[in-house]
Structure formats: structure tokens, C-alpha cells
Amino acid sequence: MMGKRLLSMFVASAALGIVMSHAEAKTVIHVMHQGDPGWVTTYGEVAKRFEAANPDVDIELIYAPHDAYNEKFSAAVMSKQMPDVMELDAPFLANYVWSGYLQPIKPLIDQDILDDMTESNVAQGTYPIDKDLYAVGLTDSSVVLYGNRKYLEAIGARIPKGVDDAWTREEFEGYLEKLSKLEGVKWPIDTFRGYGIKTEWITYAYGPILQSAGCDLIDRKTWKSVGTLDSDPCVDTLAMMQQWVKNGWVVPQSSGTNQFFAEGHPAALAFGGHWFYAEAAASMKDDIVVMPLPKFGPKGASPNGTWIWGITTASEHPDIAGKFLSFMLKDKQYRDYAKNDSAYPGLKSFAADSPLYSAGGPMAVAFEQASKTAIARPPHPAYPTITSAFMQAVDEIFNGGDVKAALTAAAEKIDTDIEENDGYPPFDEQQ
């Protein structure tokens, strides 16, 4: 009896040992990401499909909320628990590469995907020092000017046909004034202040307004902000925007982000991201007009860049991490979800499969901006400081603060950060 019991225990232990050694044999790839419930589910399903196709690999998804993503990543770095694959906001790429967190991705990703990337996609994943590719994505992004056709017709506004035909600053401000007096219009424009200052929105969407007006957040040759961000064109442009707010032309932050298509259509124009189209068009049908961003100065400018994927230097299995990324970027269901979410194409094959953005499509003008007016946010390791300082300045300005003082304070904060980091070598040698 005792012998049988011992034998059965031995067999059970051996079986457990086999199971455990089998489990240990699996390669675990940690993938850190953000996203809303739809994306979280989609990533989970992609991971399951990859695991089914690669039974020796476990994909462990690490979700971090969008507003605490950087804190989560910092904690992972400090506790030496960096993931293998990470989603990152494109303008933060230079900072991550400079800090040594990301590795060149070209040797790890399928060549057909690399060949499929749009120029803007390559630009958002490229580190300016070695010009190497460190991240890749299925998507990119842009901001356009949405208009309510009925209101625009009521004031006799000219509807631009393409990017070259964009409204000038004078036209734009003239229309805002006319719209402010039009019955039914509560606010001439929604600039999506509702996104607040905890997201990238202000730098992402308002930065190009400055660039169009002839200035920038920072001089991209000397990497100095004083003299650029607080220069006359920038002060003038943000004073103009402050005046819109003072005039009551802009949807206030407290009114949320859907006043353009909410009941009664209280906002006549919307300075909104490409992702806004699906929701707005579903509600407004043919009443929605998609226009290029106005020219606020000598040239047109529009934003680009979105959340893209990189492989960290901490990965012990970069080849498998790359294999997972290639799998995901080609995954049909993943692409279908992105398409239904009106995602802006970053791969040519995805663009060809997205009638929304192809020539003649309702968002064609948004895709046209990518090749004609898109300007990436400053690809510099000081970007986290640049964006935070600029967002605080804009918030202060919109709340009635002194424009010049707010921009000077932001510019000084940026320059101080760069000085404190000895110019972020070798960025200081670029001058």
C-alpha cells in the first residue's frame, strides 16, 4: 500500500516536472501597450493567434493607461523590467533611443513591411542622429479642419479642394467672425480643448499652427527654444488664438469633445484628428466637409506621428519580438479593426485597402497633407520637456495669461533642461 502511494506520488511529481519543464521551455515576450477597450481586445486576440501559430512562445501583454504610460515605463526601466516590445508615442522616440532603451528594428522586421512603410511612417520611427529605424507602425496620423456644410454655405465660405487651396489666416478668421453671428452656431470652432493638457493634443495639433506662421517650438538646428518659441510670429499666433477664446469662438474645455456633431451642432468647425471623422460622419452624414488645415503664414503645416512599436534593448529574444511585430502588422483582423477605427495609414498596402484615405475618398485631403505639409514634432531627447512646457504655456494663455511671458517661460524651461543635460550629446554637435 505504502509502495503504491510512493509510486503514484513519484509518477505525479514526474508528470508535474514534465509539464513545468515544458512551460519553462516557452519563450515569453512581454508587450507593453496602451489603448482603449477596442484596441486592448484586438491586441489580446492578435497575441492569441500568434501563440497558436507559434506554440513555443507566450505573449504577455502589459497594459498601461494612456495618461500614466510614461510613469509605467519609467518604473519598468528603474526596476529592470523593461518589456521586449513597447508601444511608444512617436515624438518620444528620440528620448528613448538617446536613453538607450530601443534597438534598431530593421534587422528584426520582415523586409516586405519595411518596404511598405510610407515616408511619414519612416520619419516618425527614425532617430535623427544615426538615421536608423527604431520603430514601426501600421498607422500614422493627421489633423484636418472639419466643417458643417450647412453653416459654411450659409456664410458663403469657399470650400478648399485640396491642400494647395487651403484657407489663409485672413479667410479663416473672417469665417470665424461670420460664423459667430450665424443663428444656430454657439461656437464657431472646436479646437478640442476638451482633451486637456494631460494628453499630447496641444503640442500635436497647435504646434503646426506655429510652424505655419513661420516659427516653431524650438530651433531645429541650434536646439535652442529662446528666440524661437517666444519670437514675434509665435507670440502673434498664440495671441490670435487667445483672442478667439476671449471672443467666445472656441468650445471651452469643460464642454467636452463632441460639440461639432452633438445635437443641434453647436460648433461650426472642428480642428480635429483623423480619428474624429468616423464618429462625426456617422452622425452628420453628408453635412460634414473635410478641409486642409488653414495656412497661418507663409506655408501650410500639419502634424503627423502616432503610437508606434519598438523593440527594447532589454529584450533577450529580439528576433522573436520582431517576428511578433511583423505578424501583428500583417494580421488581417488587426488591420480590419484599424480600418473600422478610421486609422490613418502608415503602410502603403493598408492605405490601398483604406478607401477613406485614397484619392477621391472623404479623407483624401488628410492623406494629401502627409506628403505636402506634415512636420514631425521636434525629434530631440528633450521632447518630454518641450511638450510639457509648451502645453502649460498654451493653457496659461488660453486662461488669459500674458502671451509673451508664458512663451518665454516655456522657452527658458526647455533651454534649461537641455543645458542641464549638457546639450544631450551628440545633439549638441549638430549645431
Partner: protein, 297 residues
């Protein structure tokens, strides 16, 4: 008393009565306004959780429609009540309850014992220890959070329930609160029990602890709220659904481009229920503790 005197007295009393009446009306109105300010957001949250159109919720927020739902639905609750899948909110809620019960349960024992020892124990340097405990209270959690992350990570505690419970069991604030309560109890109680041969632990467990219901209730509620609302810490120390609390899960609805108000509201209502129940359960002692503190100064 002459008729004239009575009539004069009545005329003196009448204005006083009417002044008291006016004061009561003002008091009642003020209480009603304060109650309305406190209750209306909660009511709005509950109403919004019964609406299935997230854009409508947002559009209604600026008007009285925020307090009315014409076609109530429980679909949002159904969506956030799942116990498995990619976003298992039922699971997250369960995780939160486990963390809450364990932290508060262990916190009551550890902090009350520490408070008792500091008040009545024979430990040397109690005054110094008490000063250090009070000094620790002024250090904000955020300032030590990163070193703490490194510590728990090196200890191999990440992504566990323990990592969300153990660091927050002992708290300078609650130790001090218990100390203050125990120190106010009559010295004779302690001495009488000692003369009867009771050990220090026996005195704590059988005499002082049963007398400290108001302190226990206060600490339960304060600690419960603190634990329940933890957000940054669980984000930093958890990786998967295994031990993640609902506060982190709700943040999923606040995406980069869109906010899913419908499900966020339903999840918030679900999240509110346990902590509200905790408060209601301990409310009587909680209030008496505060009143007692105020009277005793």
C-alpha cells in the same frame, strides 16, 4: 403680572421666535444646498450609467438632461461585469475587494497594536519612536514611490496581491490615531488588568480593543478609501489582470482619442458600491469618533 406686562413680554418673545424660525429656514436651506452639491454628481453618475450612448452622455452633461434618462438600460453594467476575457471588469472588482479586505484587516491589527504599545507598552524610547512616526507622516507617498518600486521588484513581488497590500498595512497616520485614542483611556483600566495578572497582549485584545470601536471604524473607513482609490501604485507594480484593481481598469475607458463615458460611468458606479457600503456600515462609530475628538480637543 399685569395685562400690560404680559402683552409687552409677548411682543418681546414674538420677534425672537420669528428670528429662530428664520434661522432654521436658512439652516435647512443651507443643508439642502450642501446635500444637493454632494449628491447631484453621484446621481448624475448613476443616471449616466443607464444611458447606452456615450456621445449623448457627453452632450447631456451641460444641461439638466444629465439628471434624466428616458430609455434606461443595464447594458453598460453587463459589459463591465464580465469575469473573464481581455477586460474582465468583474475580475478587477474582485481583485479590488481582496486588496481592500486584506489591507484594512491587516492594517487594523498592525496599527492598533503599534498604537497600543506606544501608548501603554514598556518599550524604551517610546516618545522618540512616536516622534519618528509622526515625522514619517509628512513624507508624501509620491516621493518614495520609485525607490519602493525598485524594492518590491527586487523582492520579486511585482504583479501580486501582496505588493498592493503589504507596503500599505502600517501607516504613521493610523498608528498615531490609535495611539491618541488608547492614550485617552483611563490608566486605571490598564493597572487593574495588570493587577489581575493579564498580559499586555491580553489587555490590548480583551479590554482596550473592544473599547476602541470608534477608532477602528475611523481607520477602516479612511484606510478603505485610501486603498480603494490607489491608482498609480497598482499601475507601476502590476503587469497583468491577475491582481489589477478596478481603478486601473476604469482608466482604459479614457483613451487617447475617445472617452467611453457609458462604460466608465457603469464601472464607476460598481466601484462606488463597496466603499459606500463600508462607510454606511461604520458610519455610526465614525461620526462618534469625530465628535469625540472634537469634544476632547
Amino acid at each position: 403680572m399685569s395685562d400690560l406686562a404680559i402683552s409687552t413680554l409677548q411682543t418681546q418673545v414674538k420677534p425672537e421666535r420669528s428670528a429662530v424660525g428664520s434661522l432654521r429656514i436658512v439652516q435647512t436651506a443651507s443643508i439642502l444646498v450642501i446635500a444637493l452639491v454632494i449628491v447631484s454628481p453621484l446621481f448624475m453618475l448613476f443616471v449616466a450609467s443607464l444611458k447606452d450612448d456615450r456621445f449623448q452622455i457627453l452632450a447631456d452633461m451641460g444641461s439638466f438632461r444629465a439628471f434624466w434618462v428616458s430609455n434606461p438600460t443595464l447594458s453598460n453594467f453587463a459589459e463591465v461585469g464580465n469575469l473573464s476575457g481581455e477586460l474582465a471588469f468583474g475580475r478587477y472588482l474582485l481583485n479590488s475587494l481582496i486588496i481592500l479586505a486584506s489591507t484594512v484587516g491587516a492594517g487594523l491589527i498592525v496599527n492598533s497594536m503599534a498604537g497600543f504599545v506606544l501608548a501603554w507598552g514598556s518599550l524604551r524610547g517610546r516618545a522618540l519612536i512616536l516622534s519618528l512616526v509622526i515625522a514619517l507622516y509628512v513624507i508624501p507617498q509620491e516621493s518614495i514611490i520609485m525607490p519602493l518600486v525598485i524594492m518590491v521588484s527586487r523582492a520579486g513581488m511585482t504583479d501580486t496581491f501582496a505588493v498592493q497590500i503589504v507596503p500599505w498595512i502600517a501607516s504613521p497616520l493610523y498608528i498615531f490615531l490609535f495611539y491618541q485614542f488608547f492614550a485617552q483611556l483611563p490608566k486605571e483600566l490598564f493597572e487593574a488588568a495588570q493587577m489581575d495578572g493579564a498580559s499586555v497582549f491580553r489587555i490590548y485584545r480583551s479590554i482596550f480593543l473592544p473599547l476602541s470601536l470608534p477608532a477602528l471604524a475611523t481607520v477602516s473607513i479612511l484606510m478603505g478609501i485610501e486603498t480603494w482609490n490607489q491608482y498609480l501604485w497598482p499601475i507601476l507594480v502590476t503587469q497583468t489582470d491577475y491582481a489589477r484593481p478596478i481603478a486601473v481598469a476604469i482608466a482604459t475607458f479614457f483613451g487617447q482619442d475617445s472617452i467611453y463615458w457609458d462604460r466608465a460611468m457603469a464601472a464607476s458606479v460598481l466601484m462606488m458600491i463597496p466603499i459606500l457600503a463600508l462607510y454606511l456600515a461604520f458610519q455610526r462609530w465614525f461620526v462618534s469618533s469625530f465628535v469625540g475628538s472634537a469634544v476632547k480637543g
